[in-house]
Symmetry: D2
Subunit: 382 residues, 4 copies
């Protein structure tokens, strides 16, 4: 590591997530001044020199690079943060691990399941602290949901259901590929909504409700051909536009999951609900501060779903922010994840999850989902 207490970050990628992570690192000092470790924006890397230079200036990075390999090689870099398209995650992560760097990687682990397994193997062997940016765990209302379930308030769990609904790719005129639309290009992304949206639902589900045993899935590609943004050629669409599955959790509950980019009217409606013997919980990203909670032990005539505005100082993370009743945003979940990660370094414990190993569990489910959709049969998660 660099000088005392500083973690010098090498950020690879300057897209939406590059910006998001740069923001997270910048906020740590203001809102988590008690942490021993402090991220330093040492370098940012992207192939387009003009743009990466501008990004570095806007965000105050000390330098910039255009070749990620240089970043990994630099001695003045302590941590590599991977924000590239999915198909580059594995190569970078493995190189970073071999160079002994701390690794923070965007989700999903990889565009390819076999590569994902190899990443975890190499990273684990290297012993470097590592995490994957499944940021929704750190939305205060979601963290509170986890705490409520862990407290035992729900009792035996019967059902877990989640969906992630978007509508931005409905137009067949939308191209695929290139810088902006790599998520629609199967070569860059590996899969469609399964890796992009469903993976979030699965990570949260495993975190809150435990492991998934087997899945039965169906996927669909509604728009079969799109023009490639760079080449202008009409190509077959290789990604899944929608992905649905039901499953058994290890705890005996039934799961129901759906992700799609064809649900007209939903910008980014990530919701989940958990039904237990004694209580239930539900959450919705569009009103992300609100956790709904039903407690059957309430007196019967005044029993109902409680609409909890998670913004008080005794609710997760909210002691760091403003006043009860006021909201924080999407970006704050990333700030919380970064803070938790640096805190875990300081405490010498296992890195704050999800680690690469945890994220592999999600990859396993995604892989089983895609396999089941092809085989038209149940697939075990393994």
């Amino acid at each position: 590591m660099g000088e005392k207490k500083e973690i010098r970050i090498g950020l690879i990628g300057r897209g939406l997530m590059g910006k998001m992570h740069a923001n997270a690192y910048s906020r740590i000092g203001n809102f988590f001044p008690d942490l021993e470790y402090r991220p330093v924006l040492q370098t940012v890397c992207s192939r387009n020199e003009e743009k990466v230079k501008e990004f570095a200036e806007t965000w105050g990075f000390n330098s910039y690079e255009t070749d990620w390999k240089k970043v990994v090689e630099r001695d003045d870099i302590d941590a590599i943060d991977i924000c590239t398209p999915n198909n580059m995650h594995a190569e970078i992560a493995i190189a970073a691990a071999e160079a002994g760097k701390i690794i923070l990687c965007e989700k999903p682990l990889s565009s390819d399941f076999e590569e994902a397994k190899k990443m975890v193997e190499v990273v684990d062997k290297s012993g470097v602290p590592n995490t994957v940016w499944y940021n929704y765990r750190r939305v205060p209302a979601v963290t509170l949901a986890k705490q409520i379930v862990d407290s035992g308030k729900l009792g035996k769990i019967f059902h877990y259901r989640a969906n992630f609904l978007q509508d931005w790719t409905i137009s067949p005129e939308l191209p695929q590929g290139g810088d902006a639309l790599w998520r629609l290009d199967v070569d860059a992304a590996g899969s469609g909504v399964t890796g992009d949206l469903l993976a979030h639902c699965i990570d949260t589900a495993i975190w809150i409700n435990g492991g998934i045993k087997d899945v039965s899935a169906v996927t669909e590609t509604f728009v079969k051909e799109r023009v490639h943004q760079d080449s202008g050629e009409v190509q077959k669409v290789g990604i899944d536009d929608a992905s649905i599955f039901h499953c058994h959790f290890s705890n005996g509950s039934l799961g129901l999951f759906e992700a799609t980019r064809y649900a007209r009217g939903h910008k980014a409606l990530y919701t989940f609900e958990i039904n237990g013997e004694h209580a239930s919980i539900r959450w919705d990203l569009h009103d992300m501060h609100r956790l709904e909670y039903f407690d059957h032990s309430d007196e019967s005539v005044v029993r109902g779903w409680r609409s909890i505005h998670v913004s008080d100082g005794d609710q997760p993370y909210m002691d760091r922010w403003w006043i009860p009743g006021t909201n924080i945003g999407y970006e704050h979940s990333f700030i919380h994840q970064a803070a938790d990660f640096f805190k875990s370094l300081e405490e010498g414990e296992e890195a704050a999850g999800p680690t690469f190993k945890d994220a592999l569990e999600t990859e396993k489910v995604c892989n089983a989902v895609l396999k089941s959709a092809k085989s038209r049969s149940w697939e075990d998660v393994k």
Copy 2:
């Protein structure tokens, strides 16, 4: 009274409320078979013979009349139900009382405050059972609100606020007066939204939160002239289109009330909210089965407004209906009021409220509101 257990009804008026009350009487036997008294649809009265005949047939009345005085005189009538425009209430009620008939009168008591006082005096002196159809008291969620407040769960009350918002008279092309639009004609109605909508809010408020001491009000007539539906002549509009007031309740809480027919987007949004030291309640007619309840004694991290779907057998009136989670409608509040009224006759107690005397308390507030709007000063309720 007529033969054993039967209450032979003489219904005067065949408009919306005439239909509503006929329906209420018809349902009693099916859903409250345990009551000793049973209403009989003996006669219905309206000046238009063709229409009243058709109404009598549709609803199964044994006869019809075109002169309300005949109804009051008939020996085979036990109860007079007044569903005429407001300006006829007093004369009919007084005649009915003098003839010893039970009286059920639509709200508000009268188009004129002085007449209302006289009605109550005569009716009280006559000793006949009497009630005024402030039906919202018998919406199960509203009844539950009353029970919760009476239980003391709210503690000291700080605030009561209510509004009744509609938007059906915004167009200046809408005529006033005549059969259908007498509510817009100050001669027939006495006032505009004050007597029509605000009166409902006030009745519920007094019932739940006790008496009102003084008021400061403002009213407005947005459309100054309308064509009269019958004559076709352009007339000055005499009613209040909007009526707003704040007040002190006897228990020290502050009240805030608003009624209007110029709130674009609201068909009949009657809502109220009560804030107490320990708990709060709110309700909304558009989702009338739902009572929202906040209890500060809930554990802090999972505290929130409870959304109670009032439809279980242990919630008011719902043991008479279907199954938990299913709804009843607007009409059922009238069925409940009728049932409670007949039950009270059977038990020989004071008639189930609101009685004429109770309704006069609402008239007093309405009168003070209209007076305050004119005087531009606080007015005591007396």
Copy 3:
């Protein structure tokens, strides 16, 4: 048929649905006075003489019976309404058809798929008018949803999802079987939530979105043993407590369905959502008057889900009821179905659906669901 214009009803069963249908027949005259046919409450049948007598009195039936076969044989009965447990539907319906009676049958068609097919065959051959009480089609907001989809406003459909969530059987102490709890007894009910709740979701889905081609399902029985209510013996539970499936519709859209009685906090949350190319719709039984509608052709900066309170005179069925902004209830969907059925008789058209033939399509899906849950593979609907 009996005397001119009268349809003399023989109602078999006096449980929740017996009461519901008796109520529907009683309201027709008041709210649909224009219909030529008028139901007459001729007889009601149940094995318990004391109770059926009381029921007949409460509802004003002209007679009662304790043996359903007598009802079918009576010359003064024009229509048989079947409200028994599911395992008796087939025998009664077949006898009624053979006796030339009009048939109104509670859903699902039968506890047994083979019997259901035979019922349809016999009833079709007999030529008697027939209908199955899938009442949700006649909730005004649901009817409006159908009209919106039929208008083409949604364009190509991508997704249909529905669930029916209850929580009343979570306690293992709850017995099964007997008069009150036959829905938990596999012998009487045939299946658990699949036939009870999922069948409603499927009927609405087929009505609005067309046929289902194939399904992949999972079911679960959370409580494995219960005491029988009558015998007091501990028995194996044979029903499905939860039933989940995804499917392909003939129009290429993906379906996702779930029903359970183990979703703590939900009394009877039947919801559905349809996502089309241009617009989407969703509905929820707990707020049954509200239809949510998203129209992508709205100007982008003010585009959002519209919350439509379906209660105006130009919205389905609402011209029969009260005033805009006021609600009707669960029972009214049955009144509407009865009215539509009698109207269809009058017009000499095919009986207002769902007919037995329509209902068989739902049975086919239910059968495929139960089969798929066992085979753990996709099953075609046939």
Copy 4:
């Protein structure tokens, strides 16, 4: 001004708003990199040296002070940001204006109306750019509301209603005064909820709906005595705990306002609704991203309140942030206000509002409200 393009800030006060403004200045560079002016955190001032030093370190200020007069005197300060208790605003602002500093002042202008008038006079005369932090104008959904009204979509306005409900001072055990609770101390705050909460409602109202002509108000102090936090002595409570008024706007619409800290269940429920001839709008701080909009010109059967999640790039400010469907927070409204202010400097126009002059209009209404509550009569706003 200091060196080219830099605005060197002297922040006075390190409470909630001090932190909020420091945050706003820190974000400008990242999210508004196109602005010519860039705030520099030059110094922060507070009487407690230990705490202000820590604050300066956490937020990266170049220096700190303990005497505000020094800040105003310093040549290396271009702008004074006033975040002190209300009773110090006037003196500081006047000194800053006289020293030719840009002024950014927390709301309300002053604890005293006469002082407020003098502040505006001096500041105006000095010609320094100035603004008051009525931040809610820059919540994207609120800005959109303003744009919709300005577009004429609502037509003639009939009603404006707003409330700001909190519940944090209900306990009589809560002390008043001192560093943390100066808002409860009439000497420091000037008034209670009128200046603290109602002022926000009034600023937004005037901005969107134009000037207020006259008011009729009532205020209440529910808890009459509190212990002073510093002295421990029991003191009379001088502030208003609740403040309610109705009013006439210059455009002929009726206004209804309420603020209280005694509405159990509401943390910071600031809501407003505007009803126009053709359309209506409402908003709620707890779900601050959502704007509800009703457009009567929508086709009648599918007409309803639209729930707009204001998060798309074509909606106010949202092109600066993340992706559609994701939220920003309370703090962002301050970032937007700062950005708009610096932008206005660059363009040489009048400073982005609300200016001191604009804020005085709000003070006038607050003053009339407090006066009316005492006089128990209508008061003109002047």
